[in-house]
């Protein structure tokens, strides 16, 4: 596994910072790419717009997707991801700020893999990753002898 990229789609800078902090703190993912809105996330995934130069074959290991996003909202992003055969298999973990049922139901309908409470609750995230079989994909190996 040469690159372990985690795509975080989040528009709230506070949440972004807290999420990245939580992930880093627990050695999750080598690289976190942040998209501040839905359009940017899609651009990243499909190598469009400012990410035109990117090799779109290289897909993130997991996408953390907030639902409330400017421009293109999270559900639409999810829809697009699942609609594209190339990205269909990328695990998407939806970030939720509430237990608003309709969001949960719609997300699952659209193929979200899991739900994590915002800002990323480490325990919950690990559980989600575990369930998705992603754990070793996203978790940095802890070097031996690092006492």
């Amino acid at each position: 596994m040469n690159r372990k990229v985690l795509l975080l789609v989040e528009d709230n800078p506070d949440d972004e910072m807290l999420t990245i902090r939580a992930l880093k703190k627990h050695n999750l993912a080598n690289e976190i790419v942040v998209a501040r809105d839905g359009q940017e996330a899609l651009d990243y995934l499909f190598g469009e717009g400012e990410y035109e130069a990117r090799d779109e074959e290289e897909l993130p290991q997991v996408i953390l997707l907030d639902l409330k996003l400017p421009k293109v909202d999270g559900l639409q992003v999810l829809e697009r991801i699942r609609a594209n055969p190339r990205t269909r298999a990328v695990p998407v973990v939806v970030l939720t700020s509430s237990n608003e049922e309709q969001d949960i139901i719609r997300s699952y309908d659209l193929g979200a893999n899991s739900y994590v409470r915002k800002p990323v609750d480490f325990e919950q995230f690990v559980e989600a990753a575990r369930q998705l079989g992603l754990y070793w994909l996203v978790l940095n190996e802890v070097p031996y002898g690092r006492e």
């Binding site: 709230n12 506070d14 949440d15 807290l18 902090r21 703190k25 409330k68 700020s97 509430s98 237990n99 608003e100 049922e101 309709q102 915002k118 800002p119």
Partner: protein, 1364 residues
């Protein structure tokens, strides 16, 4: 030091020699030592050789033959040699000793070995061999020793040579050092000597020249240095002496200058004058221009003094006396200076004057000061002399006057010649003089000034008061020398002050009196007057002060108030009701407002002899009287007098007295006014009482009795009575009388007073007078006996003259005392008599009226006719008794009048009665006549017939009505009976017709159209509703085919949807569009049925049409409302969606960053900061929970219920599992009931169960054995309950339980948002159920809820109770 240096050099040389000698000796010794050593070695070698020889000999020659004893000898010899060797000191001694020991050892072994062989027959070979071996060994040892001694010898030789060379070298070095040292030490010494001596020589040369500043260098501490220092000091001291000399000279000059003293010397032989600089300065002469000589000096002396000076000098020279003079100098610029010259002349032995020496001092300043002093002393004298204060000076010893100024002369009235040189004792009376001397001594002894502010002194001009200040004047040595006294005559001032003080006190007294008199009430007036008199008497120092008041009537006067100085007799008892006329002359003055100020009775000669006589009689010497006047009326006199001395009171006193008189006048006037008001009030009040008594009583007798009682009481009479003024045959009857028990013997009631002469006369007099007649019986001469027997002392009588009937006499007797009745009492008495007279007439008339009334009433009663009279203005009426009865009242039980009448009239008839009455009043009808019903007090109904007529005043205005009322009830009753029978019959007929009419009417009246047709569809009836609905009139519709109410082109509809189904089924209902006459269409509900005839054959149709356009409109409205509601729901939903996201975002940041702080910076934060952060996080999380709960609450209301079968037990288990996961350490027992399946929205029911169990879980957290029950109630299986054994709550707050945000526990105890139970309630309500709770603090809580039983499903197989 140089000497020291040389000495040191010598010593050093000597030391060097000694050292050299010592070293030579040591060297020699060393050489000797080495030599002996060398000898020793030589000896040693010899010994060794010797030893070796012995050994060799022994070994090689004799060994074999030797006997052990011989061996021993050899051994001992060798041993001796060896011992000798070893005893020598030396390096090898030890080695030799060792050798000795080894040899001895070998030898003894050898001997032993030999001995073991047979003695004597020793094996020579063996011996030889042994010996050879031994010899070899000895030789080896000896060879070693040789070698060694050889070495030693070499060494000794070498050392000897070295010592020799060293000694030579050392000696040479020593010599060299000595020479070098001497040279180096001697050169500087010589150089220094040369330089030092040169300096000294040079300094001596300078010194000789007088250049004392020069100094010799004296840095080095040696003989030359010391010499130089001594030289320097010498030069220094010399210089100091010279400077001191110079300074003295300068000082002298300066002293002369400061003291303005110059010195001079005149050589009489050569006539040469020498002046000091100061003299030049004093004479202001330039020394360069002046050739000092005696003549030149004289030139400078003031021309006027020149001769005097010259003379004095010459005389002094001649007389051999010292010369001293003060004279003036005249300077070039015309200024004058005073100089004081002193001088003495020296003579030769033969007496020839040689020279004069003297001083000149500039004394201009002193001289001028002296002159000024003299002048100022003169001025001071003038001042003292002209001072208006007495100034005197006494000598300190004898206190004789030494100075006395003019003011003193004037004050004491004696000339200074009489005073000076005398003492106080010679001038003043002894006592006073003593006092003065005492003061003087005190001042002189203490040295302090004495201020005597008030000092009386008797002079020839009478007693004066002085203010004296005495001061001690001391001489230069501090001893008292004089006593200075300055006295001011303050007699006048003190007198003025006293007068002013007296005046002030007087005025204060007056002010006090005036104020008090102006304010005092009547009851305290006398006391105030007494006080005022006392104050004024004391203030003016009178013997007596008094107030005379004129008695009522003004003819006499009485002393009403008086104050006397103790010891002065009162005059009050004598001055009582003295006639004014006797003192008319003075009273005339008083009335004019004048004052009587008499200092001697004789002054009254021309004014009033009466008063003069009175004064002389009573011993009054002088008096002041002031009138007390009020608005020009003399009320009295106020005054004071003196018996002890003749006095004339000053005008001020009199003026003050006048002020007091005014105040007294005011007070008296006020008192009179008050009394008048009181009397008048009394008069009015009492008259009012009498009037009331008169008005209250209707019969004459009662009235008169009451009046007499009242009069008796009012006048405090001893007897009051009335009698008729007309006597009968027996005399005057006294019908009414009231007496005091003490005077019973008076006129007894019913007694007759004889109609005699006295009585008649009295009667005549009384009837003639309008006013009361007062009689003092004592003055009546021909008093009849019977009168005497009544014991009357005074009486007041008045005639009562009614305008109708006989006159009466009213009288009161006073038996206890003689009495005068005051004016007001007389006025009241008269007023009473007048009132009684009027009342008597009234009573009389009343009685007559009453009688005629009684007669009328009788008549009315018989005819059952009541009469009435109504005053139209007031509404009041007069009713006869029968009238009352006619109207149903007991006679007199109510106030007659229109009101009572109207009350009695039957309400239904009242309007009619009123109208009739008004018509009559307006004159529209001739008379008032009406028959109407009345309702009696007992409720019975009666009929009356009224007849009345209107009385009008001259202007034609209706004033009153008079009429009769007749009860005709009985007659009317009979009439009504007849009427009722008739009515009954009529009613029966009417009812029949009405029922028939009603049905048609209903149809006619209904708003819906009801139309009948024949089987063809032609209209046979068309009701009102149809007219209204369709707009066609009955005529228009009748006979037409019903198609005309259908829209055009709907024939088919009519036929197929209306007619055909009706004909088929018999009845039909449908909705169709119908048409009105105006062409508009409307939706209608149509209900049709067939009509049959008696045989059951259809004969027509009846149609019933309802306009349902309104209904349709309502439906549309409802639909819109539902849409709006839907929209607002959607909006609400999107709002709460936003809330759930956007409200949470900042919270996340707060919580997340707080946590980040805690995790990343924990080591930099202290406990408090961490605590704050944890509180921030708690708060944020709490708010998050609150938002969740609120959203849940709002969600409950949203959306449709998704009804499913839900197992509450299952839900409960999963909820408890979650709760347990949150707090795994807690052990809570959950007991679930059976058959817990219900129908409901699973989402909501889960929320409900979660909240209820969550609460139970939360509130049991302090229980060790927490237990939660969730099951159905046994009594009512529709009800579920959740029961816990937690803290519970107080039922008093149960009403708050289900309100949002209501909490019953503190956040610190049990956290929560207060929304949970509100949510529960909503959910239950949405499920058509009910929720309630029961609890008790500390005993747990139970929450009951029911869900709509209609949606319950049949129970499933039993569920087991579960334990968690």
């Amino acid at each position: 030091m140089i000497r020291n240096r040389l000495r040191m050099l010598g010593w050093a040389g000597l030391l060097l020699v000694v050292v050299a000698v010592g070293m030579a000796a040591v060297g020699y010794r060393l050489v000797g030592l080495e030599k002996s050593h060398y000898d020793d070695v030589e000896w040693l070698r010899n010994k060794l050789v010797n030893l070796n020889v012995i050994t060799m000999d022994v070994l090689y020659d004799t060994a074999a033959a030797l006997h052990p004893r011989q061996w021993r000898l050899v051994y001992e010899s060798v041993g001796k040699q060896l011992t000798a060797l070893s005893q020598r000191d030396g390096p090898k001694a030890a080695a030799l000793a060792e050798l000795h020991r080894k040899l001895g050892d070998r030898m003894s072994r050898f001997l032993d070995a030999r001995a073991s062989c047979a003695p004597g027959d020793g094996d020579p070979d063996l011996c030889r061999e042994l010996l050879a071996r031994l010899a070899t060994q000895v030789r080896v040892v000896l060879q070693d020793l040789f070698v060694e001694t050889g070495t030693l010898e070499r060494q000794a030789t070498l050392r000897l040579d070295r010592y020799f060379y060293l000694g030579m070298l050392f000696l040479f070095g020593l010599l060299l050092t000595l020479v070098l040292f001497t040279v180096t030490q001697l050169i500087p010494v010589v150089r220094r000597l040369d330089r030092g001596l040169g300096g000294l020589v040079e300094a001596a040369e300078h010194f000789r020249k007088g250049e004392l500043e020069h100094r010799v260098e004296d840095g080095v501490r040696d003989e030359l240095g010391m010499l130089a220092t001594a030289f320097n000091e010498m030069a220094q001291r010399r210089k100091a002496v010279e400077e001191a000399l110079r300074r003295n000279e300068a000082n002298l000059a300066e002293a002369q200058q400061v003291a303005h003293v110059g010195s001079w010397e005149l050589d009489l032989v050569k006539n040469r004058l020498w002046w000091s600089d100061e003299i030049y300065r004093i004479f202001e002469i330039d020394p360069r221009k002046f050739g000092a000589s005696y003549e030149a000096f004289l030139e400078r002396v003031h021309p006027e003094d020149r001769e005097k000076v010259d003379d004095a000098y010459r005389r002094s020279v001649a007389d051999r006396t010292s010369y001293e003079i003060v004279h003036r100098l005249l300077l070039d610029d015309g200024r004058v200076k005073y100089v004081h010259e002193r001088g003495r002349t020296h003579y030769t032995e033969d007496g020839t004057p040689l020279r004069s020496i003297g001083t000149v001092q500039d004394v201009t300043d002193q001289e001028l000061a002296n002159r000024a002093l003299k002048e100022s002393a003169h001025e001071l004298d003038a001042i003292i002399e002209n001072l208006p204060l007495m100034v005197f000076l006494k000598d300190a010893e004898q206190l004789r006057y030494v100075r006395f100024n003019r003011a003193g002369e004037e004050l004491l009235g004696i000339s200074r010649e009489q005073v000076l040189g005398r003492t106080d004792h010679e001038l003043f009376p002894a006592e006073q003089a003593e006092a003065f001397v005492r003061e003087d001594r005190r001042v002189l002894e203490s040295g302090q000034a004495l201020d005597i502010t008030l000092e009386p002194i008797d002079t020839v001009r009478g007693r004066r008061l002085l203010h004296t200040r005495k001061v001690c004047i001391c001489s230069g040595d501090g001893r008292p020398r004089y006593l200075l006294g300055i006295s001011e005559d303050i007699t006048q001032r003190v007198e003025t002050e006293n007068r002013i003080r007296y005046r002030l006190s007087l005025e204060a007294a007056m002010a006090h009196i005036s104020t008090e008199l102006a304010q005092v009430g009547e009851e305290r007036l006398d006391a105030a007057l007494d006080r005022a008199l006392e104050e004024i008497g004391r203030a003016v120092k009178a013997d007596r002060s008094y107030l005379f008041q004129l008695d009522p009537g003004g003819e006499t006067f009485t002393n009403t108030h008086e104050w006397c100085l103790p010891g002065i007799a009162s005059q009050m008892p004598e001055i009582r009701q003295l006639p004014v006329a006797e003192f008319e002359a003075v009273f005339r003055l008083f009335r004019k407002g004048e004052i009587l100020n008499v200092s001697e009775p004789s002054e009254l000669a021309g004014i009033s002899t009466t008063l003069r006589d009175f004064m002389e009689e009573t011993g009054i010497r002088s008096l002041v009287n002031v009138p007390v006047l009020s608005e020009g009326e003399l009320l009295g006199i106020i005054g004071f007098d003196a018996e002890t001395e003749s006095r004339r009171w000053p005008e001020e006193d009199v003026r003050l007295l006048r002020i007091v008189a005014e105040a007294v006048a005011g007070a008296l006037t006020r008192k009179r006014a008050t009394r008048a008001i009181r009397e008048h009030t009394w008069y009015l009040e009492e008259l009012d009482r009498v009037s009331r008594v008169l008005a209250e009583h209707t019969t004459q007798r009662e009235m008169l009795w009451e009046v007499v009682d009242l009069v008796f009481e009012l006048f405090h009479a001893d007897r009051a009575w009335m009698l008729q003024a007309v006597p009968d045959e027996e005399g005057f009857e006294v019908p009414i009388e009231r007496t005091r028990p003490e005077y019973p013997g008076a006129i007894a009631t019913g007694l007759r007073i004889p109609d005699d002469e006295f009585g008649r006369r009295m009667m005549e007099r009384l009837l003639a007078e309008r006013e009361p007649v007062v009689m003092q019986m004592a003055g009546v001469e021909d008093l009849p006996d019977y009168m005497k027997s009544y014991g009357v002392r005074s009486q007041m009588l008045i005639a009562i003259r009614p305008s109708l009937g006989t006159p009466w006499i009213l009288g009161i007797h006073q038996c206890s005392r003689e009495r005068e009745w005051s004016a007001v009492e007389r006025r009241l008495f008269q007023a009473i008599a007048e009132r009684v007279a009027i009342s008597l007439v009234g009573v009389r008339l009343m009685e007559e009226i009453r009688q005629s009334e009684r007669r009328l009433q009788e008549a009315e009663k018989i005819a059952q006719v009541g009469t009435w009279e109504l005053d139209l203005k007031s509404g009041r009426a007069y009713w006869s008794d029968q009238e009352y009865r006619c109207l149903g009242y007991e006679p007199g039980t109510c106030e007659a009048g229109y009101e009572a009448f109207a009350r009695a009239v039957h309400p239904d008839d009242l309007e009619r009665v009123k109208e009739a009455m008004e018509r009559a009043v307006r004159g529209e009808t001739e008379a008032y006549e009406i028959q109407h019903r009345v309702i009696w007090q007992d409720g019975s109904e009666h009929v009356v017939h009224e007849l009345g007529e209107v009385t009008r005043d001259p202007r034609g205005e209706a004033v009153r009505m008079i009429g009769t009322t007749q009860d005709i009830t009985r007659r009317v009753q009979l009439e009504q009976e007849l009427e009722r029978h008739r009515r009954h019959l009529e009613q029966l007929v009417e009812e029949r017709t009405r029922t028939i009419r009603r049905q048609t009417q209903i149809i006619e009246q209904t708003n819906d159209s009801v139309v009948t047709t024949d089987l063809e569809g032609r209209v046979t009836s068309w009701n009102g509703g149809a007219v209204r609905v369709f707009g066609y009139g009955v005529e228009e519709a009748m006979g037409r085919h019903v198609g005309f109410v259908y829209p055009e082109g709907s024939e088919e509809i009519l036929r197929e949807q209306v007619m055909q189904p009706l004909l088929d089924k018999g009845t039909h209902e449908t909705e169709v569009m119908l048409r009105r006459k105006d062409g508009t269409l409307f939706p209608a509900f149509l209900s049709l049925s067939l009509l049959y005839d008696e045989t059951g054959t259809p004969e027509g149709m009846v149609g019933y049409a309802v306009d349902i356009s309104e209904l349709k409109r309502r439906e549309e409205e409802l639909r819109q409302l539902a849409e709006r509601l839907e929209a607002s729901n959607r909006e609400l939903e999107s709002f709460s969606y936003s809330v759930s996201h956007d409200l949470r975002a900042p919270l996340r940041a707060i919580d997340g960053f707080s946590q980040a702080l805690v995790e990343d910076y924990a080591e930099r934060l202290d406990g408090a900061a961490l605590d704050y952060l944890s509180r921030i996080r708690n708060g944020a999380q709490r708010l998050g929970t609150l938002i969740d709960d609120l959203l849940q609450l709002s969600r409950v209301n949203r959306g449709e219920l998704q009804l499913e079968r839900v197992d509450l037990a299952e839900l409960a288990r999963s909820v408890i599992e979650e709760l347990h996961a949150g707090e795994p350490e807690r052990e809570v027992e959950l007991v679930l009931g059976e058959e817990m399946v219900v129908t409901g929205d699973p989402r909501l029911l889960r929320a409900m169960v979660a909240n209820l169990l969550g609460n139970a879980w939360k509130f049991t957290n302090r229980e060790e054995h927490a237990r939660i029950l969730f099951r159905r109630m046994e009594e009512d299986p529709r009800v579920f309950y959740v029961q816990d054994n937690g803290v519970g709550f107080d039922m008093r707050h149960a009403d708050k339980l289900f309100g949002a945000f209501q909490r019953l526990h503190r956040m610190s105890e049990f956290p929560g948002t207060g929304v949970g139970l509100a949510t529960v309630q909503r959910i239950v309500h949405r499920h058509g159920g009910r929720v309630w709770a029961e609890a008790e603090p500390g005993k747990g809580a139970t929450f009951y809820f029911s869900l709509d039983p209609g949606v319950e499903v049949p129970p499933e197989p039993a569920n087991e109770g579960t334990k968690t």
